[in-house]
């Protein structure tokens, strides 16, 4: 099957720092890909380049047939980036709900403001998605009154309500208290089960092992392994991968 996400020869510099080195990845439709690696390995940057939260230095990004080359300028380039952003939903480590809007307003903001959807229709869609993350009863609350886990579930509903083709998760459970991680992972499993294509940057090895179709390991701006989780976790090839897995196995955060 043709890939739905295709990252080709992606390079990214922060100032003089070379954080991504000719990274190429393909993700098939409905595939769940987890990206693991130590902090500073470039995994978040790669994810953020897909929807151009970071402008790649070189290379190209293709999502669902829309291809954007790095380093271009002008209206057409901006339009393509906008099109890619409509095809991708993103969930952040820090949730980033809009604090001045209620839960429901947070979720319908995208469809109404960006897509020009009728409010009633957006509300219907939003309520469906809030229901599926189990938070419909909180729709009139403000984010301040939610727990971290609830905030992240609302953030997932907000991203889903834009009806993206691909969901990007940037360390979605790293800012959560340990007892709240499970509820967010469960929602993510459900999203995966519903057939969403997902790229998940995470430290949750259990989730990667259980849910991922493939696991990418990144180190120093490169992808050092690209395997199915069963093989990766039982026979890591690269010593850095082994060290990474051991660190989590021995109970390190």
């Amino acid at each position: 099957m043709a890939p739905i996400v295709k990252i080709t020869d992606l390079d990214k510099y922060f100032g003089r720092l070379h954080v991504l080195k000719e990274v190429s990845v393909e993700v098939a439709p409905r595939e769940v890909v987890c990206v693991i690696g130590r902090s500073g390995s470039g995994k978040s940057t790669m994810l953020r380049c897909i929807n151009f939260l970071e402008e790649p230095s070189y290379g190209s990004i293709e999502v669902d047939g829309i291809k954007v080359e790095a380093g271009q300028k002008g209206k057409q380039h901006k339009q393509l980036i906008h099109d890619i952003r409509l095809k991708t939903g993103m969930v952040f480590q820090e949730f980033n709900l809009f604090p001045h809007m209620s839960v429901l307003e947070n979720v319908i903001e995208g469809p109404v403001t960006v897509k020009g959807m009728k409010r009633a229709q957006a509300v219907e869609l939003a309520e469906q998605n809030l229901d599926s993350v189990g938070l419909l009863f909180k729709k009139d609350e403000y984010p301040m009154r939610l727990s971290g886990g609830q905030k992240q579930r609302v953030a997932i509903a907000r991203a889903l309500t834009m009806e993206p083709r691909v969901m990007l998760f940037d360390e979605p459970t790293s800012a959560l208290d340990p007892e709240l991680i499970g509820e967010v992972l469960n929602v993510m499993k459900k999203v995966a089960k519903d057939g969403m294509t997902m790229l998940v940057v995470t430290h949750e090895m259990g989730f990667a092992r259980e849910v991922a179709d493939r696991v990418l390991v990144m180190a120093e701006g490169e992808i050092i392994e690209d395997e199915n989780p069963a093989d990766l976790f039982s026979h890591p090839k690269d010593p850095r991968t082994k060290a990474l897995i051991d660190r989590y196995r021995t109970g390190g955060a």
């Binding site: 929807n51 939260l53 906008h82 952003r85 409509l86 991708t88 939903g89 993103m90 952040f92 820090e94 980033n96 709900l97 809009f98 604090p99 001045h100 903001e109 995208g110 403001t113 960006v114 897509k115 403000y142 301040m144 009154r145 953030a155 907000r158 991203a159 834009m162």
Partner: protein, 280 residues
Amino acid sequence: MSESTVPRDPADQVARGNLLYEEQQRRTRHFRANVILWWVIFLVILLILFSGQSIFGLQTINLDMDFFKINFSFIAKGIPETLKVSAASIILAMVLALLAALGRLSKIPPVYALSTFYVSLIRGTPLYLQIFFFFLALPQVGIILPGFWAGVLALGLNYGAYMSEIFRAGLESVGKGQREAAIAIGMTPRQTLQRIILPQALRFAIPPIGNDFIAMTKDSALVASTGFVHEIMWRATKVGRATFHSLEALIIAAIFYWMMTLILTYIQSTIEARLSKGDR
């Protein structure tokens, strides 16, 4: 017998908590009552200083009470004028401050430069001078504004430059993640600003804007010097000079300014309390 041991009975524990709480409340009330008492004492001392009587051999300031009775209402008519100048100026200042703050975030060199140039020029020169400048310079290029609007222009430009810092702080108070979340759902920079950044930044900026408005009611006295805006200070100066009772006239003006400030500060603190209760 030791009184500090924790009572075993839960009901006793609750009763002890209530006692502690009441004691705390009583102290707070006591403090407030004392502060009010001392305000009254200082006010009485102030009044005695202006009584004209000789106290313990010290002469106090002698005022003509008849002047107060005759001219009180003439000067009071300046209050609405002062409020009008201040309100119009603060609105102009807010618009300019917002534009200057946004300009400061711009990546377009002339826009960024205009913003910093404006703020630097205005903050680098006295307000008193700026007010005269608009009355003297504008007619030279054929622009003759009514005195009221020339005053508003000067005050608005001046406060706008200072308030731009408030708006800048407001914009910066909105975290980077908010912008990213908006961009990620496909919002344009303009939608992000209007729907996500500004509502949060303005909320942050409301209390300091209130403070500036209160300060403005007093700085607006400077436009009296041009002679075209008949607000409190202009009226006090005019009637004081004419009757050689400038001190009395200024005291009346001072009373009005002080009362206005007290009332506006009260309104301001009410708004602030309501905002901080909101769903931030």
